[in-house]
């Protein structure tokens, strides 16, 4: 694809440079904008296959995952159970497993298969190599 038309605002991912001290914002950040504001948070290559990486989309922390089947998923970055870093979790085509206490959450609706509160899932797609998350 050439010269992609980006319908999204520019990346806003502070604090993610290696080693920089994080800023003082509480989990998971201020209230999101009303609906469907799209943000390009980074390049697809920044998320290795099967893994997750965290970004900031318009002041909201999101964890973006690229599954081995190529699909993209985005969720809130902190686990509703005890604030675990979901981007460090493990994935398959059905679920995301939090690294701290191994609660699993379904991609389809964010519901927990282990009885915890659900996670928020955000619409995400690729546009010209950019990851675009709507929050």
């Amino acid at each position: 694809m050439s010269a992609p038309h980006l319908e999204a605002a520019r990346p806003t991912t502070p604090g993610t440079d290696p080693g920089s001290p994080a800023t003082d914002v509480r989990t998971p950040g201020p209230a999101p904008a009303l609906r469907g504001e799209a943000y390009a948070v980074g390049r697809v290559e920044e998320v290795p296959p099967g893994e997750g990486r965290a970004f900031v989309a318009g002041g909201v922390q999101v964890a973006v995952f690229r599954l081995r089947d190529g699909s993209l998923h985005a969720t809130q970055a902190a686990c509703p159970h005890a604030g675990g870093p979901l981007a460090d979790g493990q994935t398959d085509v059905n679920v995301l497993v939090c690294p701290l206490h191994l609660y699993a959450y379904r991609w389809s609706d964010g519901a927990s298969t282990s009885g915890a509160a659900p996670i928020r899932v955000y619409p995400v797609h690729e546009s010209g190599g950019e990851i675009v998350v709507e929050v």
């Binding site: 994080a22 209230a31 675990g84």
Partner: protein, 843 residues
């Protein structure tokens, strides 16, 4: 700490429409968001009440609904506060219930049928339920309150999560605590504080502990058990004065004694919260007076839980509260408009200060011809008694041993016939009698008091297809309150399934996502030449589907099988292995450099100290594995830290070979029979970093005094003199404690190295995923292991040696590798970009 328990993340609020006149549903308002109030809402919703009612719940506390019973383990540091949330704010929103958390109800205008809130709000109702519970009673003592009526700082009641948090926080800076009250709450508080290292005095106004539940003799035995924990108990004495002006400094007892303290917990009983009812003109005696339908003297106002007084009784336990909720939900929703509550027979089973206690009915004989049987073993802390009247059990007290509680509860609830030999009520005279106990229990006898689950409910769940104890607990909620009935639930499930607990084929799989036991899986991997996790899924998993929970186990297996020829995939690894450090509760990591055999040098220590300072490491700690842990490190700092340390990884994060603990051995110790330190270092050098089905921890000691705990290690080596070494395997001192089995006595350190390698390789090839040696050795059997490893009965020893050698050769220090060049983009990027880490406390 001000976080809202079970709250929604900051900034997220749910939208609520104002009173909508077009809504035909009537208005149900609940005052009090505790265990009774929230349970009522659940019961109403379960009966389809969401279509009938617009439900509003007022809660004085800002939190969601939490399990108050579990505050004791939270105070003791045994449970995390997040784990006691029953209904989070989200739950209310998801169920269309309007939660007004943090709003106190001041008064009800029963004429206008409105509720007046502390925030000035006026909320109309059609049906109103009071579920305001109780508050801690603070007896009048000079100095306990300040001028403005607030408690002197350092004085706490024990009722809410906020009080519990404040006490927990105080344990960090306080040294001495006085707990007033020797009932359930006081004892639990005392034990919890004692566990945090405080010196604790317990002051009780009555002549024996738990006087409401126990007789004097049982109370005396409990006292001994409590004292043996290191808690000083003062009985039959009142505290009259609290000392201190800015902060509590001590209490003065009636007999003039003074007890110094910087923390005072008052657990001297509770009083029902009746102020709202009184102000609203409802009939109140000890509690809010209700009839058999939980209705107050106003036909549209009800009361349930600890604030209600029914037929003269006010209960202080959760089970009656939940029975109230059920009956009232039946009445309100019309599911059973004639439902009635007739009182609760409270049989309680508790664990108090670590001691099991069960009581029901009376504690002592009341009439001349009452039979009274007592078994008392003060030394063991056991005291059992029953009271029988006219061949019927009217009371029982079990302290320290509650094995017979199910049987007695049944006899008590049902007036069931009692054995001629009365002693059989209290002890099993023959083997197997306990099973009979479960079999004999009638279907409707209650097993889980907290959630009102009967034996019949449990059997029903088993019949309905629940194949495991966990599944039954999920389906019935049995065991999900205080948890004290779990072992009984398990017994009943096993009995109900009658041996054929649906044999779960998945139980034999190495990992859940590939339906093969380990030997079959290994064969298939070799046959198809599968060298990566994704290749295994594609070839062997049903539908070629990957499975997140299987990835870590497969990665470990493939590394073991292929060594350097393994094709790594980062997403196949658990986060710890991805970044070579152990993840912590706040998303930071811990760094444990290798320190072979626990031996270090001044230069190494200096380097560690410098690194700790440079990266502002929140805690530096000597581990139980004889090395140094740098805790609370940001992920993005890891590579630079390793670089600065210049030491290899200690692999404290992997399912892998961990440490070899050693003692000072023959070079220094006057008892040393062999150079244990050097042998430990040699073992660690040889086996460093090799992965396995679970952790492998070793130790070498210079004599059987066992100072480095070799008898309880996966492999433990003991010098026994004349150049001989004993090799023990399958020991453990973690969640399981097991002394290792003596595999062989050998004549040289070289033979120890060879035999250890052989054993570890046999374990790596044959153990199930996450099966430690303490399970593996007894499963396979020591005899079999001996004949395979020592006599080569299967002719595989040479192969084991060669395979282990391949793994040893494949070792590389991961800190040296990934430190320079990330294995994947963003390998060390923070996963919570807007959170300031570390959040763990800095020491």
């Amino acid at each position: 700490m001000t976080a809202v328990l079970g709250g929604r993340p900051e900034g997220l609020t749910s939208l609520h429409l104002d009173d909508d006149d077009t809504d035909a549903r009537s208005r149900l308002v609940v005052v009090g968001n505790g265990m009774a109030g929230a349970r009522l809402v659940e019961e109403v919703l379960e009966r389809g009440g969401g279509d009938q009612f617009r439900i509003t719940v007022f809660g004085d506390e800002p939190h969601g609904n939490y399990n108050r019973i579990m505050l004791s383990p939270v105070l003791a540091g045994e449970s995390h506060e997040d784990d006691i949330v029953l209904n989070s704010h989200d739950w209310y929103a998801d169920n269309g219930v309007h939660l007004r958390a943090g709003v106190r109800v001041e008064r009800i205008d029963t004429a206008a049928k409105t509720v007046l809130g502390s925030d000035g709000s006026v909320t109309p109702y059609d049906h109103l339920v009071l579920a305001t519970g109780s508050y801690s009673f603070i007896p009048p003592m000079t100095g306990v309150r300040r001028e403005d009526g607030s408690l002197l700082p350092g004085v706490f009641g024990f009722r809410t999560i906020d009080e519990t948090r404040a006490m927990l926080e105080a344990t960090g800076r306080c040294r001495r605590a006085v707990v007033m009250g020797g009932g359930l709450l006081g004892l639990e508080a005392a034990r919890a504080l004692q566990g945090h290292g405080l010196q604790v005095d317990l002051v009780h106004a009555m002549p024996h502990l738990m006087n409401a539940q126990l007789d004097a003799e049982a109370g005396a035995i409990l006292k001994r058990s409590v004292e043996s924990l290191g808690i000083a108990v003062h009985l039959d004495v009142l505290a009259t004065e609290v000392l201190g002006t800015e902060h509590v400094e001590g209490v003065v007892l009636k007999d003039g004694r003074r007890l110094d303290c910087d923390l005072l917990v008052v657990a001297a009983g509770v009083r029902p919260h009746t102020d709202v009812a009184v102000l609203s003109g409802l009939e109140v005696e000890r509690g809010v007076v209700v009839d058999d339908q939980l209705r107050t003297d106003d036909p549209d106002v009800y009361a349930i839980g600890e604030c209600a007084q029914h037929r003269g009784s006010v209960y202080g336990l959760v089970q009656p509260a939940w029975e109230h909720a059920k009956v009232l939900a039946d009445v309100l929703t019309g599911t059973d408009p004639d439902a009635e509550y007739h009182g609760s027979r409270t049989a309680t089973k508790l664990k108090v200060a670590g001691v099991d206690v069960a009581t029901m009915g009376v504690t002592t004989p009341e009439r001349d011809d009452d039979e009274f049987l007592v078994i008392s073993e003060p030394k063991r802390g056991v005291h059992l008694s029953v009271v029988i009247r006219d061949d019927v059990l009217i009371g029982a007290t079990l302290l320290g041993d509650t094995r017979k509680v199910a049987y007695l509860t049944q006899a008590f609830d049902r007036g069931a016939p009692l054995p001629e030999e009365r002693i059989r009520l209290l002890v099993d005279l023959s083997d197997g009698a306990e099973e009979v106990g479960v079999a004999e229990m009638p279907a409707d006898s209650q097993v889980c008091n907290c959630n009102g689950v009967s034996k019949g409910d449990i059997c029903g769940a088993v019949a309905g297809g629940c194949g495991s104890v966990g599944a039954v607990m999920d389906a019935t909620r049995a065991g999900k309150g205080c948890g004290s009935c779990k072992s009984l639930v398990k017994q009943i499930v096993e009995w109900a399934a009658d041996g054929d607990l649906t044999e779960d084929p998945a139980a034999s799989y190495y990992v859940p996502g590939v339906p093969m036991p380990k030997p079959e899986l290994v064969r298939a991997i070799r046959e198809h030449d599968l060298r990566s996790v994704s290749a295994v899924f594609a070839t062997l998993a049903p539908g070629g589907q990957e499975d997140a929970r299987s990835k870590m186990g497969l990665t470990s297996l493939l590394k073991m099988l292929w060594g350097v020829d393994f094709v790594p995939e980062k997403d196949g690894e658990f986060i710890n292995d991805r970044v070579h450090a152990n993840i912590q509760r706040d998303g930071t990591f811990s760094v444990v450099p290798q320190m072979k055999g626990g031996v270090t040098t001044p230069a190494q220590l200096r380097r560690i100290a410098e690194v700790a300072e440079k990266y502002e490491v929140p805690m530096v700690k000597v581990t139980g594995g004889q090395r140094i842990d740098l805790l609370g490190v940001r992920k993005e700092d890891l590579p630079r830290m390793w670089d600065d340390l210049g030491m290899p990884s200690g692999y404290a994060y992997g399912k892998s070979f961990r440490t070899v603990k050693t003692c000072v051995g023959s070079d220094f110790c006057r008892f040393g029979l062999g150079d244990s330190t050097q042998l430990g270092i040699d073992l660690e050098t040889r086996f460093q970093g090799i992965e396995g089905p679970a952790k492998m921890k070793l130790a070498v000691v210079g004599c059987p005094r066992n100072c480095a705990e070799a008898y309880v290690k996966d492999v433990g080596v003991v010098a026994v003199g004349n150049g001989k070494w004993e090799v023990y395997v399958g020991g453990a001192a973690g969640a399981t404690v097991r002394k290792g089995d003596l595999l062989a006595t050998v004549d040289s350190p070289e033979e120890v190295l060879r035999l250890t390698g052989r054993f570890l390789q046999y374990y790596r090839e044959n153990a199930n995923w996450l099966e430690r040696t303490y399970d593996f050795v007894p499963r396979v059997g020591l005899e079999r292991i001996r004949s395979v490893l020592l006599e080569d009965s299967e002719g595989i020893v040479a192969e084991l040696d060669a395979n282990m050698q391949r793994s040893v050769d494949a070792y590389t220090d991961p800190w040296g590798q990934d430190g320079k060049e990330p294995a994947t983009p963003g390998q060390f990027r923070t996963a919570l970009p807007l959170v300031a880490l570390p959040k763990v406390p800095v020491r």
